[in-house]
Symmetry: C2
Subunit: 527 residues, 2 copies
């Protein structure tokens, strides 16, 4: 039978020891686990022995560079084979004069030549718990600064809600908290339970709801200073916004679509970025790697041998072969089907089961930092329009110009922007921006767009694993085929689309190799 | 009669048009108001005429410097009279070799000589809606960077809760949201109302609660990935923390004491700081002000005359007098009673009614940035211990050393730290820090403490207005006594303890002066 009232027993179950003695701290947090965040210790790999030291790394993206850097340090003979003309893979920062490798389109980045005017077309943020990428930023001496990811003065904009006007995120969030808290307050205050709560439980719960939502003393939410000042607040008394009507809030979509990303650990404030562009991490690796990095070198065949891996590649028109003891392969999984190889059938099925993500970004050079006049110093605006998000730079504050992210779609199977010319994309983004910031188009001096599905040697970005594929293939693909061929990259992780995922994959592969090498060394020493 | 159930009518009143047509956007937000944030336009003051141009500015803190800068620009003859040996007032950054002007204690800052090793003993943060201070940072060319204020990987620590162990803020906040949302879910799900909600209203509310709190599909909160990973999440599947028991959370104090400051506009992400120390704003003013700034010049008398203000001051042992047309006075209100003056009686009563705040900070030079190993890259830890807060620097990421804020008490009438020697304060702070970060003391290389109540020429910080004083005296004190003597400073604002309050006061005084000058000009042109 469905109860009409909250059961008091259930409720007190929730409340637990409220009002009584100090409750037992039941969560599993242990200080001992904390070393799992922040810069990690250097990998302590066994030095390469006289045999088994030749390594081929396929792809000079973040995972490949990590492997090369670590193995070189312990004496391996490493060769990095990169299909494209550049290092970094999806870690791509565009600046003045950079060419975009979009297939079938000619695009050159026409931003001014200024170190603050960069566009991170790939990864753009690093949270504090991504200990691997932070470790490498530290050891490679790549300077980091805080990147404002959440901007409470930025907007949420929904074409069909709030008369299509942008609303400050602070205001929306204050109202969402307030209205939720009001519901709790009423439920507790009106004793919507089959037996009354103790006076002490009741008072504490009411206080909690009031504090959480900034409710009035009677438990009503009528707006909050948390939404920001409507006027005054400094020389004159503050005037506040009325709260949004609950119905309007509930019908709107920001709360369900985007606002809760603020709570995601990967958006855990503070986020960071590399000073001057995320590709300074790539440059840090390249500066510190002595092994050859062959650019414009396309792999044509991967053949497991009994005691190694033969990789055939085309380098500047010449067919070459490297017989490596180990191969670390970050080639995107969906390219592997077309690449002659003798990897085990189940392994190949696994690679074929992975779906490559879409992903689209536009960078816009704005001739003035107009957002700063609106009190916005970074963060992002969310819109129901196709551009999805607008980001405001938090570097170069108060400078003359700035690079905005004019569109960010992570998954759009319609390939809406992909099918446009670069000019059409900018025009479309400009028109969307106008609905949020009147006059937006006039600030745009130049733009550059990166549809990852059309980028040469990439044709996609973050990998999508179905639950079934994860169950069936993940552990298999983490293991080296034939004990010699490791698939690496963010594609082989639980954190695809983040540099940390790529490095986790590299770390796991290196640790696996190390275990094998140590076991072999131990056997040979015994033998 | 007290109702046992939520009235459906009340509930639908809250829900409004939920499930129906687009609701009217009732909040008063208008795009036209947005110019009230971000850098403001330059003040367009009337140029000084041949008469009435001599100005005395008492105090070289933020408000005095603002007034001097603006009036000098339009031709006034300005003299700044500063009692102490330095400019800036409470805008105080301590670095290598700086002496602290604490009365009765000898303190020199022994930090290493390094531009990243600074301690903002006064204001340390600028939010995006503080348009005045941002305006001056822009025009004075003071570079700003984002300052991480909230660090989700930092801790809340309560000696009497959770076994006295620190808990990550992300975890606490995820649990608080989850448990609140679970209550709402149950109330809606169990139809704790006298009539059922429409199916559509009900579904949308349940979905809202689930999204808000990251509840399971049945509406229960059993922990959330928002709390951070207990393990894995990159190369291996993530393991999550169990949620905190509601009773334990409700009995704890973080939610009521501190967590909601995150929602305060003054803590609205992103916050900023001046690169290399907040006093670079002061230096920016000093660089751009040509008028004399007399240091070590103590005011001894302020006398309104019919057409001006006579200020007598002691400068390097010499008694001097300035007969000014206008006086802008930022001397702390509680010093005014002891200073001979002929200000109107009600005006003096008003000044006497203001209470000066306490305020205490310790800066600690740490020999290693140990917090970064815990995934903390800025933000603050809150503790129930007397130190109140610990701040982690977000400048100089991955450098060798860093300056932490080791204690921050804003109001402690017991003067607990004030009564200690500088050495005792550091030792006390070190012991508190140990409970949060074992080994904390060993990292401390040197420390410096600033009890604002004991700082010479200050003897207190932010001003506290009672509701009665505000009602009775605020408007009066905003007006110039005798049309010639303006009280300024954050003390004459609704935003005391913030530089923005000081500047708002300066701006209001300048605008008042301008109105009077324009009126007089207009009369004299007519005459």
């Amino acid at each position: 039978m469905k109860e009409k009232n909250l059961s008091r027993r259930h409720f007190l179950g929730l409340v637990g020891a409220a009002g009584g003695s100090t409750a037992v701290y039941k969560t599993a947090m242990a200080l001992g686990l904390m070393q799992d965040t922040g810069p990690m210790a250097m990998l302590e790999l066994q030095r390469a022995g006289p045999a088994g030291k030749k390594v081929a790394v396929l792809g000079a993206g973040i995972s490949g560079l990590t492997v090369a850097y670590e193995l070189e340090r312990v004496g391996y003979d490493v060769t990095i084979i990169e299909a494209s003309r550049r290092t970094g893979g999806r870690n791509l920062t565009l600046r003045h004069g950079d060419r975009v490798d979009e297939m079938g389109q000619q695009q050159v980045c026409n931003f001014d030549d200024d170190p603050e005017l960069y566009f991170n077309a790939g990864p753009a943020r690093i949270p504090g718990h991504h200990r691997r990428i932070l470790h490498y930023c530290k050891v490679l001496e790549v300077p980091l600064i805080v990147k404002a990811n959440i901007g409470r003065n930025a907007y949420t904009h929904e074409e069909d809600h709030f008369d299509g006007k942008p609303m400050r995120i602070a205001q929306y969030m204050a109202d969402a908290r307030g209205l939720l808290a009001e519901l709790v307050y009423k439920a507790v205050d009106q004793n919507a339970f089959d037996q009354p709560l103790s006076a002490e439980d009741r008072e504490r719960m009411l206080y909690f709801a009031r504090s959480f939502g900034d409710l009035g003393s009677s438990g009503a939410y009528n707006g909050s200073m948390r939404a920001g000042y409507k006027s005054g607040g400094f020389g004159r008394p503050a005037e506040y916004y009325a709260g949004t009507e609950f119905g309007a809030l509930l019908n709107s979509h920001f709360w369900e679509r985007s606002s809760f990303s603020f709570e995601n650990p990967d958006w855990g404030e503070p986020l960071m970025e590399a000073v001057g562009g995320m590709d300074n991490i790539v440059k840090g690796f390249v500066r510190n790697i002595k092994s050859p990095i062959l650019l414009n070198a396309q792999v044509q065949s991967i053949q497991l041998q009994g005691d190694g891996v033969d990789v055939i590649y085309n380098h500047n028109g010449e067919r070459k072969k490297i017989s490596a003891d180990y191969c670390f392969n970050s080639i995107p999984s969906h390219f592997m089907a077309g690449l002659p190889n003798n990897l085990p059938a189940e392994y190949r099925k696994g690679l074929n089961s992975l779906k490559r993500g879409f992903g689209f970004k536009i960078g816009l050079q704005m001739k003035e930092r107009f957002w700063e006049r609106e009190g916005i110093y970074g963060g992002m605006t969310f819109t129901s329009q196709r551009i999805g998000e607008i980001w405001y730079p938090s570097n170069g504050i108060h400078g003359k110009k700035g690079i905005m992210l004019g569109a960010y779609k992570f998954y759009d199977p319609t390939e809406f922007f992909d099918r446009m010319t670069p000019e059409e994309r900018i025009e479309y983004a400009a028109n969307c921006g106008e609905k949020i910031h009147p006059g937006y188009s006039d600030y745009i001096e130049s733009g550059v767009s990166v549809p990852w599905r059309r980028m040469n040697h990439m044709m996609g970005c973050g990998t999508q694993w179905s639950a079934e594929a994860r169950e069936r293939y993940y552990k298999l693909l983490q293991q080296p085929a034939g004990g010699r061929h490791y698939m690496i990259g963010d594609q082989i992780s639980y954190h695809s689309s983040w540099q940390e995922g790529a490095m986790a994959s590299a770390e796991d592969a290196l640790l696996d190799l190390d275990k094998r090498v140590r076991a072999a060394t131990s056997i040979s020493m015994k033998g």
